[in-house]
Symmetry: C2
Subunit: 497 residues, 2 copies
Amino acid sequence: MLQFVSNKHKEDYKSIEIEGLPPSFFELNRANFFENLKTKLKNYETDSVLILQGGSDIPRFDTDVISYIFLQESYFYYLTGVRDTDFYTILDIKNESITLFWKVPPESTKIWSYVPTLESLTKKYGILTKDMVDFYKFIGERNPKTIYLLNGTNSDSKSKVKTAVLNFPTEYEYLAKVVDNTELIWEILADTRTRKSQKEIELLQFIGDLTAEAHVSVIKAMKYDIYYERDMESVFFDYISKNYYTRFTGYQCVCGTGINSKTLHYGNNDQVVKKENINLMDMGARIAGYVSDVTSTIPKSGKYSYVQKEIYNIVLKANRTVQANMKPGVYWPDMHLLAEATILDGLQQLGLINDGYSIQEMLKNRVAYYFMPHGLGHLIGLDMHDVGGYLSFTPPRINLPGLNFLRTARYLEENNVITVEPGIYFIEFHLQKAFKDPLLSKYFNSELIKSFFGFGGVRIEDNVLVTKDGSLNLTAKLPRNIEEIEALMNNSSNLLK
Amino acid sequence: MLQFVSNKHKEDYKSIEIEGLPPSFFELNRANFFENLKTKLKNYETDSVLILQGGSDIPRFDTDVISYIFLQESYFYYLTGVRDTDFYTILDIKNESITLFWKVPPESTKIWSYVPTLESLTKKYGILTKDMVDFYKFIGERNPKTIYLLNGTNSDSKSKVKTAVLNFPTEYEYLAKVVDNTELIWEILADTRTRKSQKEIELLQFIGDLTAEAHVSVIKAMKYDIYYERDMESVFFDYISKNYYTRFTGYQCVCGTGINSKTLHYGNNDQVVKKENINLMDMGARIAGYVSDVTSTIPKSGKYSYVQKEIYNIVLKANRTVQANMKPGVYWPDMHLLAEATILDGLQQLGLINDGYSIQEMLKNRVAYYFMPHGLGHLIGLDMHDVGGYLSFTPPRINLPGLNFLRTARYLEENNVITVEPGIYFIEFHLQKAFKDPLLSKYFNSELIKSFFGFGGVRIEDNVLVTKDGSLNLTAKLPRNIEEIEALMNNSSNLLK
């Protein structure tokens, strides 16, 4: 086992998935939110409260069995740290206080489930927790001029955010009149989540480190212990669950072998891994709610073939070039174009793109889209595709092939954490379209490209923090150079000594 | 590693989670359903079809990320074997044929996800699979006198079964008039699922065997490698995922240490396992959709204390006595009472229940309910709490303490598979109620019982097949005698040689 997690983090965070993050972590999140509210909310009604409803267990169709272990709704978690079901919270915007409400179940529930006391919840979350029976009375006594609720639509899923359900009893019905679900409150909360606090950054570094460790455990298993694609997933999950106690991955593991490596969100993971195959492993850990999102692409055999090496090194160069150019103020679509330029240049040198055409011309004509039909990267945090990508006060989506898949077109800000995940994929039907396009066909060496149709794809994905004057790769410890990876796979790595 | 799975099953089933069960498995399920329809459906309209809609991905709040790996809705899976999202099926009741329908996505989807062809789906599932665009035309051409849909309420969850959503286009609107969602069709399907086919039984034996192996892997890890409750869960899941490729457990693992072992559906699994603790581990595998549900109760130290041993052996006797008395025609509530009688007798001998009262009297006064506040067992199959427990044509729920928690009050039938899971738990507030009850207090040696309030609980749970003239324990290979378990934990087991 290779340890990338620092000894200090190992001490502070190793059991955090079990013990939970300390209340101070979420106090800082709330402070950042209140600060952002003050800056952005027009016609700011300070004599107001914001009410959020936490998540409930998600049933699998009509069964009563817990098939899916509970994972809190992210906005609620961000502000409260609550990891249990069926909570409400009231944030007082005037005095920046917070109160939790939980419906104390009948005593008989204790036979079936662990039932905490309100006192123990108050201690656990560091937030005064009251019985839900006092919820409306509490609001009535506070008597705010406005009751804000969350309301808005996720720009990735197109799903509505969870809006707290309120059923005012008759005596408090007058409060319904001051309910305001302006989207701006939700936007400001989503926007706050795009700039990580120092505590969030430290946690994400820890998760990046342990995800790198887990990737290495799969890389080392590849030659002799991986038979099905599914084995990559199980070796990865075994590593993070046994060593860091997590019950989740950050998202469904993408373990594509051979031609499956070209399918961006492949998740079947049910094919046999053949010895000539390249394997794309897009797998991240989820710890204390926060996730990493990391891709390695490695050969089954322990040795990259000549063409695998050539393609891999172009993608790696794109990844490194982007990271070297990231800093606050950089327009993210420009980074996407920079990755494309690096890829176009590499493919031109390799002869897959014909000589005599400038990178600039090809960028304009969206040539790289046929090799990398996805966005360069996305914000990451509590959600793998994290929120705040497109808001009313941020730059809009660009309606051009490839660029339209970017999950944000923001200017980078300090403390953004974003994935950098360029890739080259040989997708037959997609490239055939380009070959047939009268404007595009001239760029492509179609005969040579056709010989790559069984290749699959390569993606190299890191999680990158935007710093004050540059960037910091939170997943930097994962070996990326071909020599390092081959040494690891063949037990001749200096890292192993 | 102890191998309980037979070599034949190892060969036939080891990769079944990846490769899927063969179409013949589900053909047999359908044949049993059609047979049952003929027997039970009054005013049987044979010129009819039954339409089911399969499941879609279940989102986690507003995210677009697959947090929960897809697991098919159970009725749909039972009849079709389909493991992919967004299918419909039409079963023709007249000629007992079946057709699948799937919405072929736009070609661009292939960039992101694995998209099968209709031909490959037809081959994979052994059922003609058509494009969803032909769905209503297909029904129109068939022009049945009745279109049956599923409709009913799960007696465990109180949730409605998934009813196929139909949106007839104008030209086929007349078909809406023949839609019939009588609950009886759903009841007959649920009832069919209570009697397992020979293929289902063979699979459940395999799952029982491998779950026993996985329990043994945790039992062997307990003394030296289990620090948190969570470790029991991760050792268990690692075993089944690495060896049998599953991505699921049968249900959320219950890993209660010390006093947490008394909480029936405890699932936090976040406490430290202390050396004097007993540990209740209720954990089952899910393979190819079907589940096992198994509980072991073992000491951290590798040696049961005197009182742990006494309580354990009473529960084991109740488990074994019930199994010895199970056969077709037996009224399941009688087995619950038999378990209670064994427990009452044991506790009386141990002095926790006062002398001088007959078992019969105590059964009548529901004394055992204060030690075992749950039902003896439940049907099991595709769902952990499987369907068909209470239907309009089966005996009703008994409204008496303890018996009211039985998830079925059926007379046992050949090929039922049901859990046998007696337990003794020392739940302070629950027992205090009995101590204070003027009619009940005399039975309890309250002073002695109070000394057990830190004990927790013991449950021993097997999955048992009702055979032609008795029962067969599908989880029999799991060591249950204290001597066997202690030998395993201390590496002195004959099983290990």
